[in-house]
């Protein structure tokens, strides 16, 4: 840059001097009227003038050319300055700094931001790789040093996270990436970018500790499950057992009052049992190992219909269903899902007409609100002609322990649909309910992407 400016100065000064000399010499010869180059050439045969004139013109042309060039250069220069500035600004914003190390001269070059990043004062930082190393946390020094050395030796890029201790004693987490490059003179440079990730790391730390707490909480829940399943059920079962013994052999010896009380105890114990069972089932859908396997929904549906055979025959329920797909899923949970939906449809059937249940399966495109992409999903509708429910409850019915009806009228404890929702969530899908005078529709949405992966594997 400096050299170019000097050239321009030199050129312009020498041109001015030469022009002056030429004009003076020319004047000296007389004939001011013919200030044309051709005339000089014709009228003045003096070789000095001719030579000077030629040199002047030549210099003048160079001057003009250089002037344009320098204008362009200064423009580029300006652009570079802006770029550099915005680069520095970006570095600051992104909390990163760039530095490089010349392997031959051992020069250590860095951008301003490195000092902010490392928390050092400008004057007491001698730019060298050693002083950089000194800032690094003692426990991490070996690792960082090995990374540098390996990169220089084998020109293998590195990417490490290390700690540094800033001058005020704070520990900062720094991620440094680097690689070896060669310039046109085949000089080797270690080019690195360091990034302050302290905030991110600390946030991760907090998340990790929260996760650990959650895990402990979950395992507590699992042991609670066990207590509920075994220790609570066992005494309850015995109560029921003794009641059934009394009912069977001694009912005739009881007063009518006592018989009535016994039957109430029996009912209450039965309800408690149902509640424990369903609560357990609900927490199992939460905690159970989520092992996905190829599951034939037709088989699942068949098993459910078999299981509900008695009530289906008793209520003369009519079934119509499509061939269902084979999906990646958790068989037990899918069984629960269909079991609850179909037994619900039967439970809430309209007593005045023959219950009908239609199961329709289709592949549809579904728009993702967040990514604004359309993905393929399997939609399975379970359509009944039962008593339905009020539209305002179409979301609430999936809540835990939510019930729409009196227990005297319809048995239930508000866990069935909560289990269904959980199962669909476990399958990355969703469930929706819709109802009108004609009955209810429960729609299940299974995403297809896992299914694709499955077909690719097979």
């Amino acid at each position: 840059m400096k050299r170019t400016a000097f050239n321009i100065k030199f050129l312009s000064i020498s041109s001015v001097v030469l022009i002056t000399v030429t004009v003076f010499l020319w004047f000296y010869q007389g004939d001011i009227e013919s200030v044309v180059v051709e005339k000089i050439h014709i009228t003045n045969n003096h070789p000095l003038i001719f030579f000077l004139a030629t040199v002047t013109i030549f210099l003048f042309l160079i001057l003009v050319a250089t002037h344009f060039d320098s204008k362009k250069l200064s423009q580029t220069n300006k652009k570079l300055q802006i770029l550099n500035q915005s680069f520095l600004q970006a570095e600051k914003l992104a909390s990163l700094a760039h530095w490089n190390y010349n392997c031959k001269t051992r020069e250590f070059y860095f951008t301003e931001n490195l000092k902010i990043l490392l928390g050092i004062q400008l004057h007491d930082f001698k730019p060298s790789i050693k002083s950089f190393m000194r800032l690094i946390h003692h426990d991490d020094q070996r690792e960082v040093w090995t990374a540098f050395k390996d990169t220089i030796r084998y020109s293998k890029p590195f990417n490490i996270i290390h700690r540094i201790i800033s001058q005020d004693g704070h520990v900062k987490y720094i991620k440094t990436v680097g690689e070896l490059i060669l310039d046109s003179q085949r000089n080797r440079y270690l080019i690195c970018i360091s990034m302050d990730i302290t905030e991110m790391t600390l946030k991760n730390r907090i998340l990790e500790s929260k996760n650990r707490k959650l895990e402990i909480f979950n395992s507590d829940l699992a042991s609670f499950n066990y207590v509920a399943s075994h220790d609570l059920q066992a005494p309850l079962r015995k109560i029921q057992m003794f009641i059934s013994r009394i009912n069977e052999s001694d009912a005739n010896n009881l007063t009518p009052n006592a018989r009535e009380y016994i039957s109430r105890i029996h009912a209450a114990a039965g309800y408690m049992q149902l509640l424990i069972n369903d609560l357990l089932m609900f927490s199992r859908t939460n905690a159970a190992s989520k092992k996905f396997e190829k599951t034939d929904l037709n088989e699942v549906l068949n098993n459910v219909i078999n299981e509900l055979n008695e009530i289906i025959e008793c209520k003369r329920v009519k079934f119509r269903y499509d061939t269902l797909p084979i999906i990646e899923g958790i068989p037990y949970q899918l069984h629960q899902l269909f079991f609850h939906l179909i037994s619900n449809s039967i439970k809430f059937s309209n007593p005045e007409i023959i219950p009908e249940i239609n199961i329709v399966s289709q592949e549809i495109g579904r728009k993702d609100e967040i990514t604004d992409t359309v993905t393929k999903v399997i939609k399975i509708d379970i359509i009944d002609n039962g008593i339905g429910f009020d539209k305002q409850y179409s979301e609430k019915i999936f809540n835990l322990l939510f019930r729409l009806h009196d227990r005297d009228k319809y048995q239930g404890n508000g866990l069935g649909l909560a289990i269904c929702k959980k199962v669909m969530e476990n399958h990355n899908g969703s469930i929706e309910a819709f109802s009108n005078e004609a009955g209810s529709i429960f729609s299940l949405y299974f995403p297809l992407n896992c299914q694709d992966q499955l077909s690719k594997q097979s």
Binding site: E299, N302, N303, N306, N309
Partner: protein
């Protein structure tokens, strides 16, 4: 003249049995009271002969005939189900009655008296046994198996399978497969050779 006899009825009976069975070339062992174990197989004809001779002495074979009939009924059912050409097309009750040569009603009662189950349940159990075997062999699909065992549909087979075993056919298959794998991969401390009756006895004492 009057003779007063003192006799040992058991000795008398045993002597008759010994003589007659030896005559008929049948080896046997004296079992408990009123019980003998025949050590060789008796053909129905021979059994008939023994029955007649002993009857002559007022000795009745109480159970053997019945148990033979029950056994025969079981054999007929097994044969019927394991027949490669499929089950008979005629009504199963009359098929069994024909083959055993007794009325179905009689066999039905006899069977129920002696086996804690009915002929009908026994047939279902045997069919499901066969289905299990076929499932494990893995050569036929469930549809083919249900056809072979005269079920109206796969659903019907699955239903009866589940009702009889408490498991679906696929769960059954999974369990047996895993069980076979698992027993081969038992941890060393549980390998059969390491457990002997006497050493463990010492441990527990």
């Amino acid at each position: 003249m009057k003779l007063y006899l003192k006799y040992d009825i058991h000795h008398a009976v045993n002597t008759i049995i010994r003589e007659k069975l030896t005559e008929l070339n049948i080896s046997y062992e004296q079992g408990g009271l009123g019980e003998i174990d025949i050590l060789s197989e008796l053909s129905p004809e021979k059994l008939q002969e023994v029955t007649e001779i002993l009857n002559y002495y007022g000795i009745e074979i109480v159970d053997n005939m019945k148990s033979t009939l029950v056994q025969k009924t079981k054999d007929v059912i097994r044969e019927m189900i394991y027949n490669e050409d499929g089950l008979p097309t005629s009504k199963i009750s009359s098929y069994i009655a024909d083959r055993v040569n007794r009325s179905y009603g009689y066999l039905h009662n006899l069977f129920a008296e002696n086996t804690y189950t009915s002929i009908g349940n026994y047939i279902i159990m045997q069919k499901i046994e066969r289905a299990k075997q076929l499932i494990m062999e893995g050569e036929l699909t469930l549809t083919e198996i249900s056809y072979k065992l005269s079920y109206s549909s796969v659903a019907h087979l699955s239903y009866q399978f589940k009702k009889t075993t408490g498991l679906t056919p696929s769960a059954f298959q999974r369990i047996i497969k895993r069980r076979r794998g698992e027993i081969e991969n038992l941890p060393d401390k549980l390998k059969p050779s390491n457990i002997t009756t006497s050493s463990s006895l010492n441990e527990t004492n």
